[in-house]
């Protein structure tokens, strides 16, 4: 069923306005520093709008409006003072809705381009976290075949070591189990190296994520074979909390940013250009 662009815009703006109103117009009694959710479950969510969507440097769509609603439920299973500081599992969904060629204005006529289901576990060792995640990338409007993937991530949170600044380096290794992001001949192995340097100000946080996406094996297959370099990107993201302290509705923020993407030869050949600028704005929730 096709959604008109005006209907989508109207709905998106309405949802944003309702969420912002609810988050910011909490009654006086709701304001304060008391934790509204001291239990073991946490909820995070977001709704972002972007002008283009590239998945690890692989072009998906740059027409119309791209919307990314997402939600994640985290369960804190263990918290202690030993070597293993924390264990948590999480389950979530990430979606990409398109009004352009890959969505409601494309051959399927349907808005819902991508729906990802993921579940994972992470283990905290002080500042270092090791995580494993299973993800099924599916396309409700049948624009690509389902890709199933297992990924491993090591991240270091150096917040506090550098004052108000932090670098937050990480490495992510992903193995396709069934289906392929590049639509190639073989399942691929992907490596991503990145940092997320940031700086906290009184009213906002600024981060400058930098990352490189590489194929260790068959992840970026093109007509000349597999290319190791997939993409490099640098972005700037500003996050502004909507309240100075958590409310009984949790902590909400608005955020926006710009990402500059440089593509490898294979991804350039698919997209038709060697670089692209992606702008995005959204609202986020943590509870």
């Amino acid at each position: 069923m096709q959604w008109s662009l005006s209907a989508v815009r109207w709905l998106s703006v309405s949802v944003l306005m309702v969420l912002v109103s609810v988050a910011t117009a909490s009654p006086a009694r709701a304001q304060g520093s008391a934790d509204p959710n001291p239990g073991s479950l946490t909820l995070t969510g977001g709704f972002d709008f972007a002008n283009a969507y590239f998945f690890r440097g692989i072009f998906q769509d740059d027409t119309g409006v791209v919307m990314w609603p997402s939600g994640e439920l985290g369960v804190a299973l263990h918290s202690g003072d030993g070597v293993l500081k924390s264990v948590s599992v999480n389950v979530g969904m990430w979606n990409s809705l398109h009004t352009g060629d890959a969505g409601s204005n494309g051959p399927s006529g349907k808005l819902w381009y991508e729906s990802d289901f993921y579940t994972g576990a992470s283990f905290g060792f002080g500042r270092t976290t090791v995580g494993v995640t299973y993800t099924a990338y599916s396309s409700p409007n049948q624009m690509f075949g389902t890709v199933k993937e297992l990924s491993f991530k090591v991240a270091v949170d150096d917040s506090g070591l550098l004052g108000a600044a932090s670098v937050k380096p990480y490495a992510l290794l992903a193995q396709e189990l069934d289906g392929q992001a590049d639509g190639g001949a073989n399942e691929g192995t992907y490596l991503e190296l990145g940092i997320g340097p940031g700086y906290s100000l009184s009213k906002m946080t600024v981060t400058v994520p930098v990352k490189v996406g590489l194929s260790l094996s068959d992840y970026y297959e093109g007509i000349t074979g597999d290319e190791t370099f997939g993409f490099a990107s640098v972005g700037g993201v500003v996050t502004i909390p909507l309240t100075s302290a958590p409310t009984r509705f949790g902590s909400w923020n608005i955020h926006g940013g710009v990402e500059f993407l440089m593509l490898g030869d294979r991804n350039e050949a698919v997209f038709g250009d060697s670089s692209h600028v992606i702008g995005s704005v959204g609202i986020g929730l943590s509870y």
């Binding site: 069923m1 959710n37 239990g39 969510g45």
Partner: protein
Amino acid sequence: MLSMSRVRKNAQALAAATCTTLILASTPAWAQDAASADPNPGALTITGSVDFLNQYMFRGIQQNNTGFATWPAFDLGLAAYSGDGGLKSVNINFGTWNSLHNGNTGSDGPSGKLWYESDFYATVGFGFGGGSSFSTTYTAYTSPNSGFTTVKEVMFKYALDDSGYLGKAAIKPYLAIAQEFDTEPGVGQADGGANAGTYMEIGFAPGYAASKASIAFPIKIGLSLSDYYENPLTGEDSKFGYFSIAGIVTVPLGGTTSFGSWNIHGGVEYQALGDTTKFFNGDEGNQVIGSFGLGFSY
């Protein structure tokens, strides 16, 4: 006769449910210590469930006839307002409800894909004195494996919680009216008919809660006010869609912990079908549905 792969899938599902139940039933001591404290005093409420059924009937309309259906669901509720006046509460809910099939409309069907249905809904509900409430829900029923075309609907529901008057003998009656919109002939309609339908449901949910378990006997009747149950052959709208009566037992798992409140539940539902729904059900006028599942509220 079940194929080996289906037996395997059933066994895997049962094993997963059993493991989850064991994990929840063996909640560590530190979590039990906090059993009496509310782990979530804020204004957001999370509920979720996963259920397994032998048959999926949507308002009496058959959706699969082989294999089994798995229903993962998730809801986020926002308590936007609470007061002592005539308007007692305002709640906003967002949620997703899904149906995964391994039978003829899922992974064993023409699409080869499990994910038959994914519904997104948003509700605004108003609670008034005396236990009455009124809500409006928008739902988009979509099919990721293209088993049907997207159906969009607005539903209005009035419900009365008469527990305050009748105590344990409460019957909790409700009335719901749903209107399909944005349709074309054969597109965007639950019955795949020529015109957008208007549906009415009247129901009761008497029940009894004991210390270790609760039992409910939901009874409902689904009617077409206009074009909701169009017969694909004659085009005639059947006013009577279905009648349903069920028995559901819910057993809490260990009270409220820092992980919220969990339960296992199971039940049997009997449906008597009208002319159009009987046609969709292979000319069988009755259907018995068995289900069990796991739920949580946080």
